[in-house]
Structures are given as C-alpha cells and as structure tokens.
C-alpha cells in the first residue's frame, strides 16, 4: 500500500521504502532520511529571487543576501522533480525534516483503505448569499 507523505514523496508500506511520486522510482528505506537518497544542489539565492532593483546601485534589492542565505534544492535522482527547496544560512546542516514511526504508520494504515490519489481536503463551497434582490 502506498501512503502519500508529501506532494512529491510516497512511502510503500510493504517494502518500507520511499518512492518518487513523479516517476515511481524506489529511493531507499523509509526508516531513513529521504534526503540522503536525492540529488542536492546548493544555489545562490539571487539565481532564484533575482534583484528587482539595480544591484550595482543599491544595497537591498529584493534579492536575498548570498552571505546570509543559501537555497538547497533536492531532486529525484531519476526524473529530477524538485521535492524540496530548503532555505538555510550558508553551511547550516540540512534538517532531518520527516522522521516517521514506520511501525506505527503500518498499524495505522492496516485499518484504512488505500488511496489512489492524495486526499487534498474539502473543496471550497462559497456560502449562500443572504442578501438577494427583492428580499427573498
């Protein structure tokens, strides 16, 4: 059974493995940090958030300061889908952000039906308009 853990990552409960949701590729053990199975690229933040005002003239330009900010991108090693974009001070260790109890997860899903798509939650239903013309 597959559990959709993030928009980009799936855990297969039987195999206890992380999978890419984009290409289904098996990435590695669900009991380990998924980041250790991905490709990693450190980016100058100004390559993403480019200066909006002239960087030769101004100190602050709407672009992050590369001496204060590094963006670390994580890709599926097979299809190159971007799974996370982590903002860190340069040199800071990446977070072990998702550490799930896999045994508990298996027990929890033993009573649940498998999903074929992630459950995105209730749709927005605009409330009924109360002030109709004619006072209905």
């Amino acid at each position: 059974m597959n559990v959709f853990i993030t928009d980009a990552l799936v855990i297969n409960l039987e195999k206890e493995t992380w999978h890419c949701r984009g290409c289904d590729a098996e990435l590695g053990s669900a009991r380990e940090n998924y980041k250790s199975f991905l490709r990693v690229r450190p980016r100058n933040p100004q390559d993403i958030h480019a200066p909006i005002i002239d960087k030769d003239r101004y100190e602050f330009t709407f672009a992050p300061d590369p001496e204060w900010t590094r963006i670390v991108e994580y890709y599926c090693p097979h299809c190159a889908r971007q799974m996370e974009a982590e903002y860190l001070p340069p040199g800071h260790p990446p977070a072990y952000d998702i550490e799930l109890d896999i045994d508990a997860l298996k027990a929890q899903w033993a009573d649940r039906e498998a999903l074929t798509e992630p459950a995105i939650g209730p749709a927005f239903v605009p409330p009924q308009h109360h002030h109709r013309k004619g006072g209905e």
Partner: protein
C-alpha cells in the same frame, strides 16, 4: 537532545501544601508579579462544583447546541459593535475580538470574526483577577465592574493591545466573564504607535497596565481615565475605546443574562464547559489520525529591528498517539535590550489561531484546542524571555515561530485521509507596513499603524495559487481599509496603493499570493514622522512547500530631496507608478535614492519625499517546472511576472506579443533544465561533506543552535553556551555608537594618510 514521549510533560509546579505559609506569603507580598502557576498552564481548569452540577443536569447535546448558537450570536453581535464603534484603526479593520469565558477564566467562545490569539491570552488576566483581586479588601470583584489590562506579561500579545474584562453575575454569584480586546495602537511608548522597536527596557514600552479595575457600576472612573489619557499620545482614542469596549462587554453580559433567563443557569454553564471539553476530546481524536513521528523545521529572522542579525527559531514537532509536543529548544537566546522577544503565552495563543483557522476551522473557537498540546522552551530564549526583557515587537519572533509550526503541521497533514481544510504553503508572515505619528491636518496628535498590516499574501495550495495580499496570519477575516478614508484623517497620501508588484512571487507549480506595493508621501503637517518595523531584507521570511520557493526579501526604498507634489504639478510625466521604475529609472534629477532594511526608527518626514515598500508573497507549492504554461502566461498578461521569470524560473517559451506558448519548445526547455539539475547536483553525502560547516560563518552575527539544539551561539562563533544558560546575556550595542566608532576609525585611518 531527544524527547522522551513516554514521560507526561507537566509545566506546573506544586503549590505549597502549608496553608499557613501561603497566607503569610500572601499578606506580606510587596509586589504581585504574573503568577507562574497561571502563566505556565495553557490547559483547561478543573471543573467547578457548579460546572459538575450543570453537566449532570444538562445532558441533551441538541439543547446545548441551541444555547451555544445563542451565545455565539451574542458574541458576533458584540464583535460587530466593537468593529463599527471602535476608534482605533485596528478596530475598524478587524484587529479586535470579543469573547465569553468560564467563571474560572477559560476562553470558551470567541466571536467568529476577529483575532483568536487576543482572547486566548485574556484567560490569564482573568485568572489573575480571580486569584488575587476577588478576596482582596481594597479591590474585590462585583457586578458592574470592568477591568483593563495591556501588560503582555500578565497575558496579552504585546502591550499595544488593550483588553477589557467584565464579570457576569447571576443572583449574586459570579458565573462567567466576558471580554473585548482591540489593537489600540498608541500607548505612550518611546516611539508613537504602540510598537516601539527602540524599546531597550520594559519601561520604554509605554503603559504597563496589570489587570486593574477601571469601572464600577458600569461607569468608567474618570480619575483613572484621565490618568491613562495623560499617559498616551492619543487621549481621545484612549477614552473612546474604553467606552466602546465597556459597551461591548455590557452587550455580551446582557446576552448572557437573557440566555440564562430563557434556558436556565445550568444550561449556560454546561454549554460553556462542554465547549471546552468537547473540543479537547475532538482534537485528541483528530491527532490520532496523524502519522506518529517527529517533523523538524528551522527558520531565521534576519534582524532585531535595530540591526541585522541571524536569529534562529528551531522546532521539533513530535506526535505520538493523541499527543502533540512543540519542542522549541535550540532557538535563539533572548535579546535583553531589544523588543523582538515574544512571551511563550503569545506563541501558544498564535498556535491556537493556527489550528482554529488553518487546520480545523470547523472547531468552536476556544482554548480547548490547545489542551492536548504540550510545549518545551529554553528559559531566557527569544520565545520565553525573562520578566524584565522587552517584548513590544513580539511579532518579530512569534510570527516566524508560527510559520515554522505551519510548515511542520503541513508535513503531518498531507498524508491524513480525512482533512478539515487543505494543505497550504506558508502564508506571508511579516508586517510590511508603516507606523506613523505626528499632528494631522485637523490639528490632532495621533500615533498608529496603516491597515496594510493586513495585506499578507496567502500560501499556495496543491491545486490552486495563493491569494494576493489577502489577510494577516493572525486574523483570517480582516480588512485592508479604505485609503481614501485614511487620507481624510491623516496628512499623507499613498500615491501608489494596492498595486501588485511584478516578480514579487513565491514560485511553484502553484504560486503564492503576491504582495502589493505602497508608495507614500507626507503632504501637509507641521510635524510628522514614519516608522517601519519589519524584518526580511537579507534572509526571506517564509519558505515554500514541497519543492516550491519562498518569498523574496524586502527593502525600504526612499527618494528624498524631492517634493513629489511640486514635481507632479510642474511635470506630471516624471512620475512612475512602481518601485522598480522609480528606483531604476530615477526620474527626479535632484532626488537622492536609497535602500534600507525594513526597519526604521521613528523619523521625521519632509513634504513630498517618497517612502516605498512592498507587501510580501506567500510560499509556492511544488516544482515550478511543473507549472501549467498557460498559468504563467496569465501571470505575464496581468504583469505579475516578467519575461525573465517566465523563462528563468518556469522555462516557458512563448511569443511576448501574442503570449502564445510554444509547447514543444517549452517541453524540451524543461527537459533540458531537468538534465541540468542532475548534472549540477551531487549526492547528499557529498553535499554534507563539502558544504556543511561545523560552526556558523564567522562574518554572520548568529544567534541560536547550529547542529545540536542543546547548545546555542550568542552572536559569534566564540560565544557558545548550553541553551538557556547564555552568560553574560545578549546585550546589543547602540547601532549609532557602532556607526560612530566605524566612522572614527575610518577618519583616523584617513588622517594617517
């Protein structure tokens, strides 16, 4: 550092068992500081005998629901009164709330609109009054009394807010409390407007009202009102809103009395109590549906509002069964002479808002939502500062702490099959707005804040872009205010107002809601100044989610040595209607163009010089290379993204004239970009070996943990201490002295030739 979830966490310390000792201590206390027994308990109080009786007598949930709807209608009616009559700008734009509390002081029922965090925090001063003033012969609590509080340390978000509390009696017995809170603004602090970033001591923060009685027999005491009016820059506002809050409380009291008359006291008491208990039970049930584990996320605020500094907020969120534990250890130590610290109660109140608006908006708005949730902080950290540490600008740390929690919760929520709302990327979280103070065109002295504080961009969802400049994180139903209305009362004009800023986008498969730009200038006033109290000019304020990017950074842009009103009269074609064009094209030949961080102490303004900022954008969701090219074209058509962003971020190939996408070329450009990703990336192991360092960069003024949350830095690599034990504590130098020292050094070097 690990968290043992088998040990129940208890924030409470036992009260001394010896009644004689307690009585002696009570009678000889010189000063009644906030009571840690009250302040450290965010849970629900034990049932009172009346609550026990009432719950035993009233068991029909349908009847209790009718009572609840009746009380909620009263709360909403009183909220409407508060919003329509309130004199503070904050009240007019929804930065207020009204609520009903149990006799013990627990928040049981908040108005549907308004700011949940405010009333969540009012539980603490009510509990203080119950404990210390009820039996105090010089005070007492009687029918027709009203109490006021603004000192955050006794229970407020920051002391620009003022809460009024009124006991509700029935047949001579206290049966409930009602309350009304407004973000009042001006409070007599060292700077006008109520949120002083220059406050270095708690005494710089203005009024410090511990809970005290301001009205008897439903009448404000004129001697006290006069004293308070003399303590602030807006005496009219202080008086007007005390009256407004009292009438709001009276309407709530009236609706309570009517409900008791109709349904009986037991039904009303049982309703208020079961609200809390039912919410607690429901939250535990919903938490069981989340996966068990630990989710971690850190973020950095890039300034104290006086200087740039890298300040960590660290969170490990552990969920096991029906327990949820927020472990904020490893966050930055407190700044003892800066106002950017937030009390832990403020953060807890903000998290109540997170759950009640972003996760479970269907739950009744009361404090039962936090009853199953536990918190761990380092003492004397930026989110649990000491009694004597300023907190007037608590938003600088509490909003980031809230966003860190939002990210963690979304990582739990995504896999849960039954949701009550949708997973969303981080909402923009910073108050990119102007505070102001001075004398208006009508000759009145004022000090307050622009409603654009509410213009934060919404985060993107899995299947939908975020909403532009939509609502603040602390109130989902708030208003941006009418600019024309503001200009009738205030002597400044927004020459560009609510115009979305191109490329100010949280990129993603779904993009964040974007922020608008504000270009304003002073027109006619004998004396007027602006002030700016936001962070995020070097390190962004929010990330994206699941491969989406966060917001960019934001500066203050200024053009001085120009009177734009004169310039527009002589040659209107000079003006440009965006920050980008004004700053890059420099249309005013004599103008002096500069950029600054988003914090600026109160500074006097000249007529016609330009102050320019942008509201922030919410985070993006998912890989930007998967964004539908047609949606990129829609943003391009609406001037929300440039050709550069359409190509550099989204890799869309199109004809700029017709906006027709070349689908084949776009597909291959995206494939090429994916190939480039793999070519230019490395393994996680290599990344950690080559790019992760043992300590923060030496040039970065860094505060908080690095790898180990048990150890924190206090400004430099050599100041490294166990968390909670930073000694000497963090004391920042005066930025002006730092600047003078630098200039003197340069001067000395120049003189030596």
């Amino acid at each position: 550092m690990t968290l043992d979830t088998n040990q129940p966490q208890s924030g409470e310390t036992p009260e001394t068992g010896d009644e004689g000792v307690s009585e002696f201590l009570r009678d000889t206390s010189l000063f009644l500081a906030p009571d840690p027994l009250i302040m450290n308990n965010h849970g629900v109080e034990d049932r009172t005998p009346l609550e026990e009786e009432s719950l035993a007598a009233e068991k029909d949930p349908a009847r209790l629901e009718i009572v609840r709807e009746r009380l909620l209608a009263g709360a909403n009616e009183s909220f409407d009164m508060l919003e329509s009559m309130g004199a503070a700008p904050g009240a007019k734009w929804g930065d207020c709330v009204s609520a009903i509390f149990t006799a013990s002081g627990d928040l049981s029922l908040a108005s549907t609109g308004g700011v949940v965090i405010f009333c969540n925090l009012v539980q603490y001063p009510i509990k203080f009054i119950n404990k210390y003033w009820t039996n105090e012969p010089t005070v007492g609590v009687r029918e027709g009394d009203a109490f006021l509080v603004n000192d955050a340390r006794y229970g407020q978000a920051h002391n620009t807010d003022q809460s009024m509390m009124m006991p509700v009696f029935w047949e001579g017995k206290l049966v409930a409390w009602v309350g009304a809170t407004v973000h009042e603004g001006e409070n007599g602090a060292i700077e006008p407007g109520g949120m002083p970033s220059m406050a270095e001591q708690v005494w710089d923060e203005g009024l410090k009202m511990s809970p005290f009685r301001v009205a008897e027999n439903y009448t404000l005491r004129r001697d006290i009102v006069t004293f308070l009016q003399n303590s602030v820059r807006e005496p009219k506002l202080q008086y007007a809103d005390m009256k407004v809050k009292m009438f709001t409380c009276r309407r709530l009291e009236q609706r309570m009395h009517e409900a008791i008359s109709e349904f009986g006291l037991e039904a009303v008491v049982a309703c208020l109590r079961s609200n809390l208990e039912d919410t607690d039970v429901e939250v535990r049930k919903r938490l069981k549906e989340w996966p068990d584990g630990t989710v971690r996320h850190s973020w950095w605020t890039d300034g104290t509002l006086r200087e740039n500094a890298m300040i960590k907020i660290n969170l490990a969120l552990t969920k096991r069964g029906d327990r949820l534990i927020f472990d904020y250890r490893g966050s930055s130590p407190e700044f003892t002479n800066r106002s950017n610290n937030s009390l832990d109660i403020t953060l807890k109140g903000m998290l109540a808002q997170l759950f009640l608006t972003y996760i479970w908006p269907d739950l009744p708005r009361n404090q039962g939502v936090l009853a199953p949730i536990e918190f761990i902080f380092d003492e004397r950290s930026i989110i649990k500062p000491d009694f004597g540490t300023p907190n007037a600008q608590s938003m600088m740390s509490v909003f980031t702490s809230w966003s860190v929690a939002q990210v963690c919760v979304m990582k739990y929520l995504y896999s849960v099959p039954d949701k009550y709302t949708r997973v969303i990327a981080p909402w923009f979280n910073m108050i990119n707005t102007f505070l102001f103070g001075g004398v208006t065109q009508h000759g009145e002295m004022v000090g307050n804040v622009c409603a654009d504080i509410n213009g934060m961009g919404g985060g993107a969802l899995a299947d939908r872009d975020g909403q532009h400049s939509c609502a603040p994180i602390f109130a989902t139903m708030a208003d941006l205010g009418e600019q024309e209305f503001m200009e009738e009362e205030m002597p400044f004009v927004q020459l560009v107002s609510k115009k979305l800023m191109k490329d100010n986008q949280g990129f993603g498969r779904q993009r964040g809601g974007m922020g608008y730009q504000m270009i304003l200038a002073l027109r006619d006033s004998p004396v007027w100044g602006f002030m700016l109290t936001a962070i995020g000019s070097k390190f962004p304020n929010v990330p994206g989610l699941f491969g989406g990017y966060g917001c960019p950074t934001y500066p203050l842009c200024r053009i001085s040595n120009v009177d734009v009103f004169e310039a527009m009269q002589s040659d209107p074609s000079q003006f440009r209607y965006s920050i980008e064009e004004l700053m890059n094209e420099r249309p005013f030949a004599e103008g002096k163009y500069s950029t600054h961080p988003m914090f600026m102490p109160y500074s006097l303004a000249e007529r016609g010089e330009l102050y320019m900022i942008a509201q922030g954008t919410g985070g993006g969701f998912g890989d930007p290379l998967e964004r539908d090219p047609e949606e990129v074209m829609r943003d391009y058509q609406e001037d929300l993204v440039s050709e550069d962003v359409a190509w550099r971020i989204y890799r869309v190939v199109f004809d700029p004239e017709t906006r027709i996408v070349d689908e084949e070329a776009t597909r291959s450009a995206r494939d090429e970009a994916r190939k480039q990703r793999l070519d230019e990336s490395m393994s996680f192991e290599d990344y950690c070996a080559d790019y992760v360092t043992e300590t923060p960069p030496a040039n970065l003024p860094y505060y908080g943990s690095w790898e180990d949350p048990a150890m924190v830095y206090a400004g430099s690599p050599d100041r490294y201490y166990p968390a909670g034990q930073v000694n000497p504590p963090v004391v920042m130098p005066n930025p002006l002295e730092v600047k003078i020292a630098r200039l003197e050094r340069e001067l000395a070097e120049a003189r030596q030739g």
